[in-house]
Amino acid sequence: MNERVKKLKQRLYVHKYPLCIEKFRLITKSLEKTEGDPEILRRAKTLANVLDNITVFIEDDELIVGNVASKPMGLEIDHDYGTWSQEEIDALKEEGYTISPEDEEELKTLNHYYKGKSLVSRMGEILFDNERLWPFVQSGMVLPPWKSKGEGSGGGYAQGGMGLGPGLYLMGIDFAKILNDGLYKIIEEAEEELQRVKYIDADSVKKTYFLKSVLITHKAIIRFADRFADLAAEMEQRETNAVRKQELERIAETCRRVPAKPARTFYEAMQSFWFIFLMITPSPTAAAGRFDQYMYPFYKKDIAEGRATDEDVLELLECLRIKDMQLNRVSGKLNRQKNSGMAKWHNWTIGGVTTEGEDATNELSYLILEAAKDCPTPHHTITVRVHEKTSDDFMLKALEVVKAGVGMPAFIGDKSYINFFVNNGVDLRDARDYIVTGCLDANLPGKSRTASIAMFIVPLVLEITFHNGVEPRSGRQIGLKTGALEDFQTFDDLLEAFKSQLAYFMELNAERDNIELIANQELLPDPVRSSFMVDAIKEGKALLDRTMPFENGAVMNPVGMINVADSLAAIKKLVFEEKTVTMKQLQEALSANWSGEEFEEIRKMCLEAPKYGNDDDYADLIAGDLYKFWAETTATFATALGGKHLPTAISITAHGPGGEMTGATPDGRYAGEVLADGTMSPMRGMDSGGPTAIIKSAVKIDQDPYQATLLNMKFHPSALESREDLLKLSSLIKTYFKFSGKHIQFNIVDRATLLDAQAHPEKHRDLVVRVAGYSAYFIQLGRAVQEEIIGRAEHDLQGVAN
C-alpha cells in the first residue's frame, strides 16, 4: 500500500456508521410527484431525482470518485424493502450506528408514506389467506420465518449505492459494452428504437415506457458524473497543493468524459466502471464479472504507450477496493442473523478459459490478486476460475493471497461450471464466459439473471416426516400424511416418505418464488440494469419482463442436506440393519434432545454411524442420492419468467438460524445447534480423514446440475509455509475440479489467533475471515458465527517427524 491507499484505508475504520435519509427523502418526493405514471417511468424519474440532488463529495486523496451515500461511510435507508420500526432503529443504535434525532423523526413520516406498499405486503396479499402457503412461509422452512402478517420477513435495509433496488439479484451486466461504447451510444440506440416502435400490441406500448425510462436514467447518470466534474473543477481552483491540483484536474476531465463516452485509458475505464457500479448498487450481490478480461485492453494499451505503470494500476485497483468498502449495508434483525458481518458479495471473477477454451489469465489477473494481498480489505471478493491449463504460477499467486489470511480468493472449477450451462443447452462459447454472481452462483454476463434465491432448511422436512406431516413445535399438520414411524418396515419406506414430503414442500417453495418474482416484476422494474443486458434496446423490456437467453430466474437452495444424509445413514445402520435402536426409541431420544442416560447412549451410537466427509460410501452415497433428488425435483417446477427452477447449493450462513429452528437430528446433533456449513462440507467435527477424504466424498455428489456448490476448508498456517506446500494445495484443488468439484475456499488462521480476537477484539480489527462466499471482519461477526469459525474442522497437519 502506498501512502495514499493507507490514508484512504484508515478512513474506513469509523467508530459509528451514520444512517442517512437523504436518498429516502428524494425518492419519496419523486414518488409523490409521479403518482399515476407507469411504474418503470416512475422509478426512472425517481432515480434521476436522486442523482440530480443527492449530496456529492470528493474526499481527500481519492482518485476514483463517486460517493455511495450522502455522508462519508454512511448508509442510506432503503425505501424498497419494508419500513424500519422503532425497535429496529433502536437495535441498530446499540450496534454502532448513529442517526440524528431530526432524521429519526423525519424517518417516521417517510415510513408512513410506504405503509402497505412494500414487496412484502404485495407478497402477503397472496400468501396470508392461502391455506398451504401461509403455514409454509411461517414455518421458516424458507428463511427467515414469516412470523406474523404485519411484520413481513426480516425488516428493511440501509445501504450504500446510488441506484434503486431490487437488491438480491444474482446477475452480471455487460460491462465491456458500457466501457467501450459509453452511455451516449445506448441513448442513441434507444432514441432510434423509440421512433421505430409501431403500436400494434400491448408490448409496443410497454416498450415505449421502457425506452423512455432508459433515456431518463442514462441522461441522469451522465449529469451525475458531470456534478463530480464540476465539483472537482471547483476544488481544483481552491487547491493549493500542486500535486492534488493536478489530480483534481484529471478527475474533472475524466468525469466529464465517462461514462457518457467510451473510456480511452485504464483510469477512465476504472472511473466509468465505478459510476456504473454505483448504479447497480445498493445490491449486496452486484458483480463485476470478468474484470481481468474486459479491463485488459485498457491496461495493455496504457502500458504499451507508457501512460501507466503496474504501480499506477495497482494503486487504482486498491482505490477501488477502498471504494467498495464504503458500500456498507445493514438489514433488519432477522436478516442480520442470516447474513452476518455486513454481508455482501461483490464478486470479481478472474482467470478461467477464454471463449475459445484457452487460458485467459493475464497480467491484470495477477495485479488484482496483488491488490487484495497488499490492501487486505474483506471486499471486494475475488473468485479464481481454475481449469486444466491454469498455470502453477497463477495458482501460487492466488494461494499466497489465501495465505495472507483475507479468506480470498475462492477457487472454482471451470469444468463443472461450464458443464452446468452446456447441459442446460447453452452454447459452449457462451458457457465459457460465465461469471460468478453473489456468493458462488454462475451467470452469463448480460444474458441471464437469478432473481429469487430461497434458503430451504431441509432437516425440518425430516423432522416433519418423523411426525407424519405435523410440525412438532406448533402441532400443525403442514405436510403430507406419509405414515407413522411404526409403518416404516424398511429403510426405503422411510426414504420414500421423506422424499414425498420434500417434493411437496419444494413445490410450495417454487410457488412462493413465483409470487416473489411477479411482485418484483411489478413493483421494482429497473431500467438501469435492464438496459445493460443483451439486446435490451431491441427487446425493449425490463429484466423480469423478458425470458433471458439463459433462463435461471429462480433457484432453490437446500441447507443442511448433509445433516439429513448423516441422519439417514445412522437410521439405516442402527434401525434397519443392526436393529440396535427402534424408530420409536430414536424419536423419543430426539424429542428429549438426547438428555437422559439411555438417550445419550443412543446419541453415541448415532455419532459413531457412518458420516459424510470420510470417503465412506455408506453415507456419501446417501448424500449423493439426496442431492440428485433435489436437482431433479427442482427442475420439474416452472417459474413465472418462462423457465424452470434450477438447483443451487450455497448456504451462506443460513445453517446458523436454520439450525436454531431445527430440533435434534439423528446424526447426533443437538436441537438448535448449527447445521453443516457449506453444502459439500461435512458436519463440523464429523470428518476424521482430512481434506482428501472430504474431497473424495464431495465428488461422489453430482455437482454439475447445480448453479453453485460450496466447500469450506480451514487450514492451519503450517499447511502453507513453503512454495512446495502451496503447490500441493494447488494440486488438491485441481484434483477436486478435475473430478467435477465446483468450489473450494480456505480459511487460514490458527485457533489461538481467533480466540485472542474474541478476547481482545480491539487488537484484531483487521482480522478477516471467510464466512461463506464472503469475507468479513472477524470481530464484527456474531458470537455464534465466531464460534463456528473457530470450530470448523481445522486440518492441521500432524504426521510430524520423529
Binding site: E600, E601, R603, K604, D615, G689, G690, P691, T692, A693, I695, K696, A719, E721, S722, E724, D725, L727, K728, L729, S731, L732, K734, T735, K738, F739, H795, L797, Q798, G799, V800, A801, N802
Partner: protein, 308 residues
C-alpha cells in the same frame, strides 16, 4: 507365495494429506514398534508393539461409567477424573466403548496389509496430480519388516510411489526385504558421535551410518537426510558440522537435507498413556539458530531446507 494382503501388523494411525513426508500429497502410515528410545520422541505411542489406552483428561467428565465396565477394576475416580491403574490394565479396550466423552481411546490397531493398502489407494487421484504417494513411518517401520514389505509391494503393484521414513537401525538382511519396494528413503541422522547417539536414542549409530551409505551407493536408492534439531542434544555446531561433512563426503552433495526443528507435541502424549517420559529438557530452536545450522550445510554444497 504368501498372500501379501493378509500379512498383519500393528499401526496407530493413517494420516491423509501429509505434505511434509516426501514429494506431493502423501498418505502416511504410522507403524507401532521401535528399537530406539529417542529422548525427544514425538510419537511415544509408537514405541510399544501393543495396544495402549490413550486417556485425554480434559475430555473426561468424571461420570464413572468406565469403572464398572472394566473387567478387572483398573479404574477409579480421583479429583473428578478417571484414573487407570496401568499395572493392572490389560488394554482390552472395553472402557473405550462406554465412554460418552471420547476421553478413552485405544492406540494401536491390528490390521492387514490389504486393509492399509485400501486406505492408501483411496487417495490415488491426489498422488497422480501432485506426484505424491505413500509413506511408511512410525515408530520404526523396519521393526515390522514383513508387514512393511507387503504394504509397499502392494503399492508398487498399483503404481503408487513409496517412501520409507526410517531411523536406519536394522540388520541389512531386514532392509533387503523392504528396499526393493521403496522409491525414496527419508533417513534420520540424529547424532554423529556414537556414544552421544547411544545416550540420546539408546543405540549406537555405526549400523545406521553403514546402512545409509550402502542404501545410497550400492542400492542406488534416492535418500533424503532428515535431522531433528534438538537444542542441547544434537544441535552443537560441531555435531552439525560433522553431519554435514558425513552427508557431503560419504553420500554426495546431491542428497537433500531437511532440518526438523523440535516441538513439544510429545509431552502430553506421554501423560495420556500414563507413561513416565524419559528425563529430557529442551526448547524449540530459534529461527536464528536454524539459519546458522542451515548455513553449515550450504557451505558443504548441500541443498537444505527447514521442515520436511
Amino acid at each position: 507365495m504368501t498372500n501379501l494382503s493378509a500379512v498383519e501388523g500393528m499401526i496407530f494411525n493413517v494420516q491423509h494429506y501429509c505434505i511434509h513426508d516426501g514429494p506431493g500429497i502423501r498418505t502416511t502410515v504410522f507403524m507401532k514398534g521401535c528399537p530406539l528410545r529417542c529422548l525427544w520422541c514425538q510419537n511415544p505411542e509408537s514405541h510399544s508393539m501393543c495396544h495402549q489406552i490413550f486417556f485425554t483428561a480434559e475430555k473426561c467428565a468424571g461420570c464413572g461409567k468406565c469403572i464398572p465396565a472394566c473387567p478387572i477394576g483398573a479404574i477409579h475416580i480421583q479429583d473428578g477424573k478417571a484414573v487407570t491403574n496401568r499395572n493392572l490394565c490389560q488394554s482390552c479396550g472395553v472402557c473405550t466403548t462406554v465412554c460418552l466423552h471420547e476421553a478413552r481411546n485405544m492406540m494401536g490397531t491390528r490390521v492387514s496389509a490389504g486393509e492399509v493398502f485400501n486406505k492408501i489407494e483411496q487417495d490415488k487421484i491426489f498422488y497422480e496430480e501432485s506426484g505424491g504417494g505413500a509413506t511408511l513411518s512410525g515408530g520404526e517401520p523396519l521393526f515390522q519388516s514383513e508387514f512393511a514389505a507387503s504394504v509397499l509391494s502392494l503399492c508398487k503393484k498399483a503404481g503408487i510411489h513409496t517412501a520409507l521414513e526410517t531411523s536406519g537401525y536394522a540388520r541389512w538382511d531386514i532392509l533387503q526385504l523392504v528396499l526393493p519396494y521403496v522409491d525414496l528413503l527419508l533417513f534420520d541422522l540424529k547424532h554423529m558421535d556414537p556414544s552421544e547417539h547411544q545416550k540420546c536414542t539408546g543405540v549406537s549409530n555405526e549400523l545406521i551410518k553403514d546402512n545409509v551409505i550402502r542404501i545410497y551407493h550400492q542400492q542406488k536408492k534416492p535418500v533424503i537426510i532428515r535431522i531433528p534439531v534438538i537444542p542441547g542434544y544434537n544441535d552443537s555446531l560441531e555435531n552439525i558440522e560433522a553431519t554435514a561433512e558425513f552427508v557431503a563426503c560419504k553420500l554426495g552433495a546431491s542428497v537433500p537435507v531437511n532440518l526438523l526443528p523440535f516441538h513439544r507435541l510429545g509431552e502430553s502424549k506421554n501423560e495420556r498413556m500414563g507413561v513416565q517420559g524419559l528425563l529430557f529438557n529442551s526448547i524449540p530452536p530459534s529461527e536464528q539458530h536454524l539459519k546458522e545450522l542451515k548455513e553449515i550445510f550450504v557451505s558443504h554444497g548441500l541443498t537444505v531446507q527447514i521442515g520436511g
